[in-house]
């Protein structure tokens, strides 16, 4: 106990002396939250659009009007030829080209199908799919309106649509990206700082030669591991608190679930990430290796955990790899508590997974570190 206390005291003194790192640990969550919270938006609107309208008709203008009214297309360029449209899209000035043929209006008026060509720059698949689905929806809506009008003219009475699909987007009805992003960013920041800081912890002592001095003392392996983890649990909790406060104050993030539960599971996630960092530190020979290994963990965490891309769309193999990452479970927990307001009754599998993960990884670290250099 005396040994562990001395080790903790030492870690806190060193943390206090290293002002820059300490400042970064608190500053990073704020800056990243603001950056990502404001910048990232998966709902791609305001795509620059070039239009080549060969019909010069009311119908044509009405259709184009609904394109720009949707908010997804900004008609910035009027083309005079197909070449104009090509040039605009090739140069990247426009992401979307809308071409109405000369017989467009005639076809509409005579009840024939009027074709509209929509060219989409699919180099950016997210923007492209947003453009495609909106264009299709606009087309369908306009078609329906025209069909209903024609039916009215024929049968003389107003008919409703045969199907009426009513969509209720639960938990985040207004699709506020920040609500969805902030819990994710919190998990990402915690992963990054916790894994990286502890991955340095033991390897740094190894590089400075202080580990050799520790090895000749009666200090136990588990005491060393705990001494390296406990101080950063506090740092992690401070980071999480700061991040949540930024979320609430700047982005009006609702916390629908229990705050105590949220902190409890965050604590568990912090311990899981720290254990992973300690494991990396045990395997690394120098700080460079530790850094690279941390990134090796960090990138899959961001890409496979469901933070950036929905896990449902992943091939089985990668889906399963995602289940080895603490961030995957933490994201489900955070979104569950913050947005859905659910608790342990719904989240126990994730909480259990985090607990199992931490104990396994920590045990490996303690066993692997045999208080020997070679």
């Amino acid at each position: 106990m005396i040994r562990l206390r001395a080790l903790l005291l030492k870690e806190f003194i060193q943390m206090r002396r290293d002002r820059l790192t300490f400042g970064m640990m608190i500053g990073i969550p704020i800056i990243q939250l603001l950056m990502f919270g404001f910048a990232i938006n998966t709902d791609v609107k305001h795509l620059p659009t070039v239009v080549f309208d060969q019909s010069y008709s009311v119908e044509g203008r009405e259709l184009l009007e609904s394109f720009s009214a949707s908010g997804y297309f900004d008609i910035n360029f009027i083309g005079r030829s197909f070449t104009d449209v090509n040039t605009r899209i090739d140069s990247g000035d426009a992401k979307v080209g809308v071409i109405l043929p000369p017989d467009f209006a005639q076809n509409v008026r005579h009840g024939r199908s009027a074709s509209v060509q929509v060219i989409v720059d699919a180099t950016d698949s997210m923007a492209a799919s947003s453009a495609i689905s909106t264009a299709q929806t606009i087309g369908q809506l306009r078609s329906q309106e025209i069909m209903i009008q024609r039916l009215e003219n024929v049968v003389g009475r107003q008919d409703g649509l045969p199907y009426d699909i009513r969509i209720r987007p639960w938990y985040n009805p207004d699709f506020v990206t920040a609500f969805y992003m902030v819990p994710g960013i919190m998990g990402m920041i915690l992963t990054m700082t916790m894994v990286m800081i502890t991955s340095m912890a033991i390897v740094r002592e190894r590089e400075h030669g202080t580990l050799e001095q520790l090895i000749v003392t009666p200090l136990k392996s588990y005491e060393l591991m705990l001494g390296k983890i406990i101080p950063y649990v506090f740092v992690g909790l401070v980071q999480a608190t700061v991040a949540l406060m930024v979320g609430i104050i700047v982005f009006d993030l609702p916390i629908r679930g229990n705050l105590v539960e949220l902190f409890l599971y965050t604590l568990l996630f912090i311990v899981a990430s720290l254990s992973l960092g300690i494991l990396i530190s045990n395997f690394s020979k120098n700080q460079m290796q530790a850094m690279q290994l941390s990134f090796f963990v960090f990138l899959p965490s961001v890409l496979l955990s469901g933070f950036m891309f929905p896990r449902e769309a992943m091939p089985e193999f990668f889906f399963q790899i995602g289940r080895l990452l603490p961030l995957t479970f933490y994201l489900q927990i955070m979104r569950g508590i913050v947005l859905k307001g659910v608790g342990i009754k719904a989240l126990w599998p994730q909480v259990l997974s985090l607990a199992v993960f931490s104990s396994i990884v920590l045990t490996i670290s303690i066993l692997k570190f045999r208080k020997k250099l070679a």
């Binding site: 005396i2 040994r3 206390r5 001395a6 080790l7 005291l9 030492k10 003194i13 060193q14 002396r17 290293d18 400075h208 030669g209 202080t210 050799e212 001095q213 520790l214 090895i215 000749v216 003392t217 009666p218 200090l219 208080k371 020997k372 250099l373 070679a374």
Partner: protein, 301 residues
């Protein structure tokens, strides 16, 4: 009981044998000097005894405890100071001492008493609150020594403790070692300074991983056959050529600073009448040269 005893202790790194079947015995209470050039296996031996690295084969006991199986029990009884400075640069002098006092679970009262004692001993009183990074070489080394003897170890292992330190600091350092030894601590110290070795009660020579001699300095000096002559010259190399050309009855000859050391049988001293020689007492360096050559001939034969 021996303070340290090893039996064919060996450590290999890949195909390189750093320590080759070293068998040595160290009496409790004395200062044992472990001498040899860089890379001869001094540090590796000490690191095995302290439980920092594992022996590849052979066995070793420290205070009767086995280094392979009881290294944690050994750690309670020993102090170790490595050749590389290994305290925390970003802690103050007192914080470093307190940290290591904590590592040895000293009680609060005992801790304060010992820390004050160490500060006095290392002549660091008044600089307690300075950051360790700001101390210069000699001070750092005395602090490191202080940290490694806070818990009053029975055996103290010092691995090249005075490397890169000025002569005055080296003397201060050795004064502390004498005092510890006088208080009954066994000290095992590696060095490549032959003058430091003369201070030791016993000396072991290690060369290319092998222990080539181990005894008291005076007995080692007496063990050299013949008499040692020192011949002053401005060109030692030329002088050695000359000795060879004239086929003088030389047992051994080698350059030593601005002189040549020549070992001859007592009966053949007359052959050197024409040279300005003195008969000198062999220094430990001469002893070392003798043993290394002997070992080489043994290996060649």
């Amino acid at each position: 009981m021996w303070a340290v005893e090893t039996n064919e202790l060996t450590r290999t790194f890949g195909s390189f044998t750093a320590v080759d079947k070293v068998t040595l015995h160290i009496r409790p209470g004395g200062i044992y000097g472990f001498l040899g050039p860089n890379g001869s296996g001094k540090s590796t031996t000490i690191r095995m005894l302290c439980g920092i690295i594992e022996p590849s084969s052979g066995s070793g006991r420290v205070m009767g405890l086995d280094v392979a199986t009881q290294s944690e029990a050994i750690k309670e009884k020993i102090g170790y100071m490595s050749q590389k400075f290994s305290l925390y640069d970003d802690l103050s002098v007192r914080e470093n001492l307190e940290f290591f006092a904590g590592m040895y679970s000293l009680s609060k009262a005992l801790k304060n008493e010992r820390i004050d004692e160490m500060l006095r001993m290392a002549k660091l009183t008044g600089r307690e609150d300075e950051l360790t990074a700001n101390l210069s070489g000699g001070w750092k080394q005395r602090l490191a020594l202080g940290c490694s003897i806070l818990h009053r170890p029975t055996i103290l292992f010092l691995d090249e403790p005075t490397g890169g330190v000025d002569p005055k600091s080296r003397r201060m350092f050795w004064d502390i070692i004498y005092e510890l030894s006088a208080q009954g601590t066994t000290v095992m110290v590696t060095t490549h300074f032959m003058d430091e070795a003369e201070h030791c009660d016993e000396i072991g020579f290690i060369f290319e991983g092998k222990l080539i001699a181990s005894d008291t300095p005076s007995r080692l000096q007496k063990a050299i056959p013949g008499r040692l002559l020192q011949i002053g010259t401005s060109d030692p190399m030329e002088m050695m050529e000359e000795l060879k050309r004239k086929q003088l009855p030389v047992l051994d000859a080698y350059a030593h600073g601005a002189a040549v050391h020549v070992r001859v049988n007592e009966s053949e001293l007359a052959a050197f009448e024409g040279y300005p020689f003195h008969i000198i007492q062999p220094s430990l360096e001469d002893v070392f040269v003798h043993y290394v050559k002997e070992k080489r001939q043994e290996v060649a034969a």
